[in-house]
């Protein structure tokens, strides 16, 4: 049985969850030294930026941030190729403690692709995973280190995570139908 459809996280809840995760990251890594936050495109990236802001406020040091596009690392072959975004990791990963940031974890395949992508860029000292929402149904032995909220869903349901930076609001909904695309579409992601 899945969760009821509808709002599962509002803006306040999201703010508190991200704040808590920021503190947990600092606690687990004993500060912000040598720390880098890498958001998985697209919605992981703004969350990583918010975490970096919070950490900077607490520690006075801003962790490095980057964004990772994993279109080229997906192990499924959709009928139409997803548009290739830009990976921007403007620092050397080697020896860094990397926190991968994504909005939702589901099967674990995205995370797996992201880990592969990171290793193509360098050899980090450690990789951790932060997600806003864990909706279950893992297909791989992957476990997030930091979770904003656990939500039981059924496989047929959709999670629509909306962020102010992209969608104009902070909220997470469980839907019975796929969400309408929102926010600024990737340029040229046409036909």
């Amino acid at each position: 049985m899945g969760a009821e459809t509808g709002l599962v996280m509002d803006a306040d809840e999201m703010r508190r969850a991200i704040t808590r995760i920021a503190h947990e990251i600092l606690e687990k890594n004993k500060g912000a030294q040598n720390l880098a936050l890498v958001g998985i495109m697209r919605r992981g990236a703004p969350i990583a930026d918010r975490l970096a802001d919070l950490i900077e406020r607490v520690e006075g040091i801003r962790p490095l941030t980057g964004r990772l596009d994993i279109a080229l690392y997906r192990d499924d072959y959709p009928e139409r190729r997803p548009p290739v975004g830009r990976t921007e990791v403007p620092f050397d990963l080697s020896g860094k403690r990397i926190v991968l940031v994504d909005e939702v974890i589901y099967t674990g395949r995205t995370t797996n692709a992201a880990i592969t992508a990171l290793f193509d860029l360098g050899r980090p000292a450690a990789i951790q995973l932060a997600v806003l929402l864990d909706r279950g149904h893992r297909e791989l032995p992957i476990r997030p280190d930091y979770v904003g909220k656990n939500v039981a869903t059924s496989r047929g349901q959709y999670v629509d995570c909306r962020l102010a930076e992209i969608d104009g609001e902070d909220a997470v909904y469980i839907l019975a139908e796929p969400p309408e695309p929102s926010g600024q579409e990737q340029p040229c992601a046409t036909s």
């Binding site: 596009d69 279109a71 080229l72 690392y73 997906r74 499924d76 072959y77 959709p78 009928e79 139409r80 190729r81 548009p83 290739v84 975004g85 830009r86 990976t87 921007e88 592969t116 992508a117 193509d120 860029l121 600024q184 990737q186 340029p187 040229c188 992601a189 046409t190 036909s191």
Partner: protein, 325 residues
């Protein structure tokens, strides 16, 4: 997009999509480990009926950087030289489970013919004097990097104008030389005009195809009118056998009337970009000084090579999208 056979049959959105994707791949080409697993377990066959080290290598590297297996069928070593028809060759390659076929052929339309005989995506790597679509796409990318992004190394996010990121409407591109026999000139005319640029064609009448003015180009009768105010000059290679076949009185006169030199470039904009699809005949269609970038004229040769790989990676990525199941 099922195949990439010509730019004429590729709509503007698809051109944007390839360029957009290629920009993403340019980043990968700057990495120490230039490899992504995207096309692992898939095979790309390059079927070249004409020799071309550069284009073939570019496609092979593009395939390999994406973890595909690239196999080259060199015509001289294959049954093609024994007179096997293109249809039979294609059927054999399909049976060998090729996932994409890249074809270069001296006959115009050979890629279209190949696409009729196979369900596998076909990429035209140059057919006769018809088209060379990936060359035009990489030329467009190079022009965009110089004239829109402004940086020679591409580190610029694509979101310049999110609605029309590769708009070249402010540019005039002059294509000079043997237009009748040039597939590059045709592909570029379609590609650049679809991106909004004004395209001029200039060359001797004997090397101009019939009713060229019916293509999206302005035909110029002398070099000055072609170069005046041009942002980009694309110089075509002159095959020296054109003189032997009676299309030109002499290379000397050709060079005097149509050769791109520092003197003739004074008609163009000061920041003119000079491009050549190579290999160059120095002293014929282009002076040695311009070819070597002497005097501040920007040369794009190396950048074009990198963009060539990126564009071809993008084409392979977009065409080999389906699961094949």
């Amino acid at each position: 997009m099922r195949d990439l056979l010509s730019i004429r049959e590729t709509d503007t959105d698809q051109i944007h999509q390839v360029l957009q994707t290629a920009v993403g791949f340019n980043e990968i080409l700057k990495r120490p480990v230039k490899k992504v697993p995207t096309l692992r377990g898939r095979s790309v066959i390059t079927l070249f009926y004409e020799s071309s080290t550069r284009t073939r290598t570019s496609f092979e590297l593009a395939a390999k950087y994406m973890s595909a297996d690239a196999v080259n069928i060199a015509v001289a070593q294959s049954s093609v030289s024994k007179g096997e028809s293109l249809k039979d060759t294609l059927k054999t390659l399909e049976a060998l489970t090729a996932d994409c076929i890249v074809i270069r052929h001296p006959s115009s339309g050979a890629a279209h013919l190949a696409a009729q005989f196979t369900s596998v995506p076909v990429i035209n790597a140059g057919d006769g004097r018809h088209e060379h679509p990936t060359q035009a796409l990489l030329d467009a990318l190079t022009i965009w990097q110089h004239k829109v992004v402004g940086a020679e190394d591409d580190t610029y996010p694509v979101a310049l104008r999110p609605d029309k990121p590769f708009d070249l409407a402010h540019l005039t591109v002059a294509i000079v030389g043997d237009l009748a026999h040039s597939r590059v000139a045709r592909s570029n005319a379609w590609c650049l005009s679809r991106l909004g640029a004004t395209v001029r064609w200039a060359g001797p009448r004997t090397l101009l195809p019939a009713e060229a003015h019916q293509l999206p180009v302005t035909v110029c009768d002398d070099l000055e009118s072609a170069l005046t105010g041009a942002d980009v000059v694309m110089v075509l290679r002159l095959q020296t056998e054109r003189q032997e076949s009676g299309l030109l009185p002499s290379l000397r006169e050709y060079s005097r009337l149509w050769g791109v030199t520092h003197t003739s470039l004074r008609w163009a904009k000061p920041d003119v970009l000079v491009m050549h699809p190579g290999p160059m005949n120095r002293g014929v269609e282009i002076s040695a000084e311009v070819a070597d970038g002497v005097g501040g004229v920007r040369s794009t040769v190396e950048q074009q090579v990198t963009n060539g790989v990126a564009v071809r990676m993008a084409c392979l990525y977009l065409l080999m999208g389906g699961s094949g199941e």
